[in-house]
């Protein structure tokens, strides 16, 4: 069965610090990978996605993620975070079926 593991439940950073949120998945076949974000008081929205091709994916607001197949990982990165990046981040995987499996989420708090 598919599963998604996010290593950190809570992360606190100062503005301008670099961010890396870990995500590992369990699935043996071809996968589609996603990061979703939920800003305070807002809906979940797609941050970026990987289906095929270049394993380094760039999303909105300066975020990027790298798919490393050998490590079953899809970590999210941002070189310099801003206070407005305070949100909850969810990694998700879909094994070419409709059922997308989400991780437990990582709450990021950025201190101004």
């Amino acid at each position: 069965a598919q599963s998604v593991s996010q290593h950190n439940h809570h992360v606190i950073l100062s503005e301008a610090a670099s961010l890396e949120l870990g995500c590992n998945y369990s699935y043996g076949g071809t996968v589609n990978l996603f990061w979703y974000v939920q800003y305070p008081g807002q809906h979940l929205q797609l941050l970026l996605k990987y289906f095929s091709g270049d394993p380094l994916v760039k999303g909105i607001k300066g975020f990027e993620a790298e798919f490393i197949k050998s490590k079953f990982s899809f970590n999210l990165r941002k070189p310099s975070v801003q206070w407005s990046d305070t949100a909850e981040y969810f990694c998700a995987v879909n094994g070419n079926g409709f059922k997308t499996i989400f991780g437990a989420g990582t709450r990021l708090f950025v201190k101004a």
Binding site: V4, N32, L44, N94, F98, T100, I101, F102
Partner: protein, 115 residues
């Protein structure tokens, strides 16, 4: 255009009562999903509708949970004889079609509290 809407935004009920949660997907989206988000948990898949096909109910946690989608648009999730462990945020999402290439658009959720 309008996004996915859900009602009510908050629902407080007593244990043993039935509740109905509503989802209005984005117009033209044929796929509709229900998820449950419990405190500290990820999004738990509940049920999926695609067009006129039979829904996939494999994520429903018990027979107290049911959902329908009328006319390929609005969906209602019903929880009968609610229990305290049903307390969670119930999220609805819609997408253009079945393909995972289609982004899921989420509604604001319904926060259900069972006393």
């Amino acid at each position: 255009g309008a996004g996915v809407s859900q009602s009510p935004s908050n629902k407080v009920t007593e244990k043993g009562k039935d509740v109905e949660l509503r989802c209005d997907p984005i117009s033209g989206h044929t796929a509709l999903y229900w998820y449950r988000q419990s405190l500290g948990q990820g999004l738990e898949f509940l049920i999926y509708f695609q067009g006129n096909s039979a829904p996939d109910k494999s994520g429903l946690p018990s027979d107290r949970f049911s959902a329908e989608r009328t006319g390929g648009s609005v969906s209602t999730l019903t929880i009968q004889r609610t229990q305290q462990e049903d307390s969670a945020v119930y999220l609805c999402a819609s997408s253009l079609g079945r393909s995972p290439l289609n982004e899921q658009f989420f509604g604001p959720g319904t926060r259900l509290t069972v006393l």
